[in-house]
Amino acid sequence: MGMAMYSDKVMEHFMNPRNVGEIEDADGIGEVGNPVCGDMMTFYIKVDDQGRLSDVKYKTFGCGAAIAVSSMISEMAKGKTLEEALKITREDVAQELGGLPKNKMHCSNLGADALHKAIQDYLERRKKGGESHGR
């Protein structure tokens, strides 16, 4: 198969993306868009009693790298505490994927931002709604 620009791991995640979808009653939602090209990612999270990410799903409009990044970060974040998940960087995701083409490092690598935004959204909702919110 073609597309030698992508690592095998990127292609594998692109062809078989994990955790795609929407969480109807998500605890947090994070949306990021790339204003230049119009790429967009929306992340949905569920947080359990232990403060861990029990579920992470996403919808992504973008190139092969954008889809692979979303898939990879969903796998990396699942089961992690919020604190741990907030520490995942763009570079971590790229590294786990066996690298990304140079020109895609910034434009397609929005997964970490979207995940962090979803966590922020969760934290803000909890602040507003008090302890009773959501669960």
Binding site: V20, E31, G38, D39, F61, G64, A65, C107
Partner: protein, 392 residues
């Protein structure tokens, strides 16, 4: 796995006759056309024969034809060489917004060096705005360069009308006919065009040859300086095998144009009808009727072109896209932008370019594979979600 190549705008397979014509020049006929011995004679005669054939594709005088290494080099030579040759007359140059980068970028370079450049807009179908073109012409305009047809969206420009506006004003008219030349008859005498760019590979010839035809008496400043090859207008030893191949390809293009066009048009119409009939929220880009017979370009909403391209490739189908993600510069196609297509819609660009080797079965295979590919990407697209929710 079945393999279907629908990216003929990027490269073509070489027809057998063209390959055959080239072969001696890759083996025993290896001479340099500038040499005075018999090896040189054979190579020179072959290049001159090719010159005749390529020039007659546009009904031009063979003396005016300069072989280059590719279409890009010929466009560079035309824009810079013609402009610099007319500098004493004026300092203004006009191009259209949908020209190839090998026209736009040299124009930008001239601008940085002090030239004044007007970029004429196009309408939603990609046709040059003739009123804006007329308004752009000034006393000091020396060169207008408008392509004969755009390979990315297929739109054919009204060259006759353009020539009519430009002529009688002492302005040179250049046309980049790289995408058009295999399909559209061009007659430089009838049209009154002063210079034409051609490329071998889009004529079903090999890579490595292009040509610029220039009307006799028009001053042209060489851009590749060296020996006195090509009448002193382009230095460098000629790429004899590719030039011979280009000559053969031009001959075949002229002889077989009508039958090829008809064949490609039928396949293209089958493809366009199939895509429009099987997919929702998809638009043909470019002009609906005034378009190159091999071009079927679309924007598919809510999905991104590179992702479509990769999934199609995984099923053996080769296509291209003008989306930002597929370009190395990460900018969506300037052609789609110039036609007023917004960036997120241009992200769904997909181009099917048909070739002589394609069959109806190839198109049927594409029509079977494409809808699930699009459906799959839409099912993970937040933009499609939004659309569905807004529609209710």
């Amino acid at each position: 796995m079945r393999e279907v190549y629908l990216d003929n705008y990027a490269a073509h397979p070489l027809p057998e006759e063209v390959r055959e014509a080239m072969l001696p020049f890759l083996s025993e006929a290896f001479g340099n056309p500038s040499s005075l011995h018999r090896w040189g004679d054979r190579a020179r005669e072959a290049v001159e024969e090719a010159r005749q054939k390529v020039a007659s594709l546009v009904n031009g005088d063979p003396e005016g034809l300069i072989f280059t290494s590719c279409g890009t080099e010929a466009n560079n030579l035309a824009i810079k060489g013609l402009f610099q040759g007319q500098r004493k007359k004026g300092n203004h140059l006009v191009v259209s917004a949908v020209e190839h980068f090998s026209v736009l970028n040299p124009a930008r370079t001239l601008e940085k060096q002090g030239a004044e450049v007007t970029v004429v807009p196009v309408d939603g179908s990609g046709k040059v705005d003739l009123e804006a073109l007329e308004e752009s012409l000034r006393e000091d305009t020396v060169l207008v360069s408008i392509m004969a047809a755009n390979g990315e969206v297929g739109t054919v420009q009204p060259l006759r009308e353009i020539a009519h506006l430009v002529k009688g004003r002492d302005i040179l008219l250049h046309t980049d006919a790289v995408a058009a030349a295999s399909s559209i008859p061009l007659d430089v005498e009838e049209l009154g065009v002063d210079a034409v760019t051609l490329s071998s590979d889009l004529l079903y010839g090999p890579k490595g040859a292009g040509a610029l035809w220039v009307r006799r008496g028009v001053r042209l400043i060489p851009q590749l300086e060296g020996g006195v090859q090509e009448g002193g207008r382009r230095g460098g030893t000629e790429n004899v095998p590719s030039i011979v191949g280009m000559g053969k390809a031009a001959e075949l293009a002229r002889e077989r144009r009508e039958e090829r066009n008809q064949f490609l048009r039928e396949l293209r119409d089958h493809l366009v009808e199939g895509v429009i009939g099987r997919l929702e929220h998809v638009e043909l880009t470019g002009h609906p009727t005034d378009r190159l017979p091999w071009n079927a370009s679309f924007v598919v909403e809510f999905v991104e072109g590179e992702a479509m391209l990769l999934l199609l490739d995984s099923q053996g189908i080769a296509v291209s896209s003008g989306s930002a993600c597929t370009s190395r510069a990460l900018k969506s196609s300037h052609v789609l932008n110039a036609m007023g297509i917004p960036p997120e819609k241009a992200q769904g660009s997909i181009l099917f370019s048909l070739g002589l080797q394609n069959t109806r079965q190839d198109v049927d295979y594409l029509l079977e594979v494409l809808p699930p590919v699009v459906e799959r990407l839409r099912s993970m697209s937040p933009l499609y979600d939004k659309f569905l929710k807004e529609r209710g």
